[in-house]
């Protein structure tokens, strides 16, 4: 794994999300509790709704366009046969790190 620092935990609102652009597409980084962070594809499999703009509740997010709900831990849509890609991410010393190798990307040294 190669961990890439993408920003400070404080920059992602509690129960909110921020967008990260990568070569593998746009990724939403969600913060569900004080120090609990998830990363997943930003695009809703229904009609491409931007998931970073959804309401975050528990460890789920609701798509802002037509209310599909996704479990951030597995990426599975609740009650729909669909899934979003999830990416390894962790918090260390107040910074958010994402696994660059999962994005097909090396950290820019």
């Amino acid at each position: 794994m190669s961990w890439i620092d993408i920003g400070s935990l404080e920059d992602v609102p509690l129960r909110g999300a921020r967008l990260v652009r990568t070569r593998a597409g746009c990724i939403a980084v969600f913060r569900t509790a004080e120090a609990e962070v998830f990363a997943a594809s930003n695009a809703c499999p229904h009609k491409g709704g931007p998931l970073a703009e959804g309401i975050v509740h528990g460890t789920r997010v609701t798509c802002p366009l037509h209310n599909w709900v996704f479990d951030l831990e597995t990426g599975a849509a609740v009650g729909e046969d669909a899934r979003i890609a999830t990416y390894p991410v962790r918090v260390e010393g107040g910074r958010i790190l994402i696994d660059g190798s999962a994005l097909g990307q090396r950290s820019a040294a």
Partner: protein
């Protein structure tokens, strides 16, 4: 054979255990020298809190006294700092001289972290680590006054509780959103805060310390938001870091702590061991004694050449913040495939949450009743398959084995003395008696026994009792709950928020027994609105509980772009405004510019990250948000009125502008649209609006509860009034009544259909006092919300609109 020399640096809880094991197993193996910077030997550091609160004396917490060391021939050098380790000569140098070692044990513990704010070195600022700190706090408390504790973790809260018990006025300042965020989730943190507040401790969360103020000693703490808290004593308890300076200077491998292998041996020197909080093993640091005791055994064995290896185990935190019962164990944070079970008993202040992964329990957080904590901890540690008990797991070991999961038979099986309503102390027998005595529905049970009449969370149980007792004669009511997170209806929630009273989302979730951690996309926006409508001064709007349009103050489009609609007061604009709109459309390459059905201009297809910039540009031409996205005031449509029209009877445009200026920015249960027409020809279509005013020769006809969306409905006449001011007053009072009472997402016409126009008239028209109260309450709220969110976001929140990071750029570098 001559004895080997063992030198130990630090007489703390970890090294104390090492000495016990070592000497017991092989009393003659080592000649031991024990250094300690504190002028005393080992004592039970955990028990400093009872010493601070006055429940225990120092003598009672000493674990090894002078006689103990003397009997075992340990050379004690207490009150002496070790200043250097020389690995080449295998010696250790203390302030009073040098001593040689064959084996060295570093057990220096941790040092409190000091946040680098101005004033941190002033007298009167202390940390909380050892007996001297404790004594200093006791001395300060004897002088009385105010104490500010920086840090709402375990240590800070222990200090706060102790100081409060000693009569100081205590404020806890915590950076995060809830207390003890590493051990508790926000629901448990809410209960803890509430308990501390009943003990007279003030708790400020999301509060960041900027400086400690004072001339020759600490006098006050200044927060980032400008608040100044007077303080005779400042306790800094923001965290600890491993004390590794000696090891670093000696060239040992140190990451965050002294790096050791499973034998607790320094990875860079086999003759040097380390134990306790100063250690880092396999990426882990340690802050509780349980793992240190495991380490101590391993160190003793390793020193005696016996095989043993340290393994990291899950630890439970059963904590007693003087008088509060809390427990957490395992891992209640991130990993794939997890599921929560939440139980709340609002009347008794209990909260429990279990985190399940597949068929295993992986984490637990409990507050108020931690009796089952160890049982849950056992299930976590042993990885027990909990599939069979899943339904009843949260009720603990007492409910396992044979107990029925069917709620009705569970209620039937309860003994008559079982308490059903915690608020009013009503037991099952009393309720059954009332039912057999003729109370045939919930209302009757409430009236005769008071059960379920207060917080209402036992409503479900009472209904089940009705069903069990009356059988088919009882029909379960079908009131719709807000959503799957609760059994309460919107009406119940609104009523309870006002009467209990509840002033935060955490309070609603806990006190009304929410079944989820923090609601869902259905209930969160509703609760957020109810709280801000009822407590405009106490409650702060939570953007994270709003649908994206209201969070970003623009309408999201199907492709993820946004539309921007500036306000045009009463439909009036100017060439300058139009020019600014045209310039913005050019500059931000807006694909579509459309005139809306609401008498203004829509810029469609603006990129999310451009929003703050386009708003700032529009603001410069004095254009503000049109709230085309909000459950709030939208437009006030007007016709040209007396200014130009040959039929106009009053200044309809002017009244429309005035109304829009009074009402703009306010949040309402659903959107609100108004119109003012200058005569009954009604060119502004006022008779199908939420509030529509038609001007006539004799004054103003104020109509309400019209609709022209999914339903079409003509307004009903609220009143005819002679003056413009009265028309404005009635409108404001009507909207405030709607704000205070309607269900979230009911337009006014739906709400009026429920409560009846007469009920509305009785308050808004016929009762001048109530009308005045409604207008005043609206103004209080508008004191906060009548402002342009675009200007605010462009100035202070613009960063949140841009991506957090752009790795496509980095990769190209």
């Amino acid at each position: 054979m001559s004895k080997q020399k063992l030198v130990v640096i630090g007489a703390g809880m970890a090294s104390g255990r090492v000495l016990e094991h070592l000497i017991e197993a092989a009393p003659e193996a080592y000649e031991i020298t024990l250094f300690n910077a504190e002028p005393r030997g080992n004592y039970n550091r955990i028990m400093l809190s009872p010493v601070l609160s006055g429940e225990k004396s120092y003598a009672e917490i000493v674990t090894h006294d002078d006689a103990w060391y003397a009997e075992r021939g340990v050379t004690c050098r207490f009150g002496e700092h070790v200043v250097a380790i020389d690995r080449a000569t295998k010696t250790v140098t203390g302030q009073q001289g040098t001593v040689a070692y064959d084996k060295l044990l570093i057990a220096t513990g941790s040092a409190p972290f000091i946040i680098p704010v101005p004033g941190r070195d002033l007298p009167g600022v202390i940390t909380y680590r050892d007996l001297d700190d404790t004594n200093a706090m006791v001395a300060a408390a004897d002088r009385g006054g105010a104490a500010v504790v920086i840090g709402g973790g375990l240590l800070g809260l222990e200090a706060a509780a102790g100081l409060a018990l000693r009569g100081m006025e205590v404020t806890v300042v915590h950076l995060m959103g809830h207390l003890m965020e590493r051990q508790l989730d926000e629901a448990a943190g809410y209960l803890l805060k509430k308990d501390l507040e009943t003990k007279g401790i003030t708790v400020l969360t999301r509060a960041s310390t900027k400086a400690i103020l004072g001339e020759d000693r600490a006098e006050a703490v200044l927060l980032e938001d400008g608040t100044t808290l007077p303080a005779d004593l400042v306790v800094m308890a923001v965290g600890i870091r491993p004390e590794t300076r000696l090891a670093t200077d000696a060239g040992l491998s140190v990451a965050r702590g002294v790096e050791v292998n499973a034998q607790m041996q320094s990875v860079s020197d086999p003759d040097i061991y380390a134990v306790g909080e100063c250690v880092e093993f396999d990426g882990h640091l340690f802050g509780l004694v349980a793992p240190l005791y495991d380490q101590a055994k391993v160190v003793a064995d390793s020193l005696l050449g016996r095989e043993n290896a340290f393994v990291v185990r899950d630890v439970a935190t059963k904590l007693k913040v003087t008088g509060c019962d809390l427990f957490s164990a395992g891992d209640f944070a991130d990993a794939p495939g997890r599921e929560d079970i939440v139980y709340r008993d609002p009347a008794r202040g209990i909260y429990k949450r279990l985190v399940i992964e597949g068929d295993r329990l992986v984490g637990a957080v409990m507050y108020g009743d931690t009796a089952d904590g160890n049982w849950f901890f056992g299930l976590i540690k042993d990885g027990t398959d909990i599939e069979e008990m899943r339904e009843t797991l949260i009720f603990g070991p007492a409910c396992q084995g044979g107990a029925s999961a069917d709620p009705l038979s569970a209620v039937a099986a309860l003994p008559p003395e079982a308490e059903i309503c915690g608020c009013n102390g009503v037991c099952k027998g009393t309720i059954v008696e009332a039912i057999t005595g003729g109370a045939g529905d919930l209302g009757a049970v409430r009236a005769t026994t008071k059960a379920s009449a207060s917080c209402g969370t036992c409503t479900g149980l009472v209904e089940q009792l009705l069903q069990v007792t009356l059988g088919d004669a009882f029909r379960m009511p079908t009131a719709q709950p807000v959503c799957g997170c609760t059994d309460h209806t919107h009406d119940d929630v609104r009523r309870l928020i006002k009467t209990m009273p509840l002033k935060s989302q955490e309070a609603v979730w806990q006190e009304l027994g929410w079944k989820t951690r923090n609601g869902c996309h259905v209930c969160r926006p509703a609760i957020n609105f109810y709280l801000l409508a009822d407590w405009p001064l106490e409650y702060r709007d939570d953007p994270q509980s709003r649908f994206i349009n209201e969070r970003k103050h623009a309408n999201i489009q199907k492709d993820g772009t946004f539309s921007v609609v500036p306000r045009m007061w009463g439909g009036i604009t100017t060439p300058d405004e139009l020019r600014a709109i045209a310039d913005a459309a050019d500059k931000y390459k807006v694909p579509t510019v459309k005139v809306t059905g609401g008498q203004r201009i829509d810029l469609l297809g603006v990129k999310g990250e451009d929003l703050p910039a386009i708003w700032a540009d529009l603001n410069r031409a004095r254009l503000v948000s049109g709230h085309a996205y909000s459950k709030g005031l939208r437009t006030v449509k007007t016709c040209v009125g007396t200014d130009h029209c040959r039929f106009g009877t009053q200044d309809s445009t002017g009244l429309g502008i005035k109304l829009e200026q009074v009402l703009w920015g306010s949040w309402t249960p659903h959107k609100v649209k108004l119109a003012v027409s200058g005569c009954p020809r009604n060119c502004a279509e006022a008779t199908c609006k939420d509030v529509g005013i038609v001007c006539v020769d004799s004054g103003y006809q104020v109509g309400v509860a019209g609709a022209a969306g999914m339903d079409v409905k003509e307004t009903e006449r609220l009143a005819d009034v002679p003056t413009e001011q009265e028309a404005i007053d009635l409108t404001v009072a009507f909207i405030q009544l709607y704000r205070e009472n309607a269900k979230y997402l009911d337009r006014p016409y739906k709400w009026v259909a429920k409560v009846g126009l007469d009920w509305v008239k009785a308050r808004v028209v016929d009762d001048p006092e109530e009308r005045a109260r409604l207008i005043a309450a609206f103004e209080v709220s508008q004191g906060i919300y009548r402002k342009d969110p675009w200007a605010e976001h462009a100035a202070t929140k613009a960063r949140g609109y841009a991506p957090l990071a752009d790795l496509t750029l980095e990769a190209a570098e």
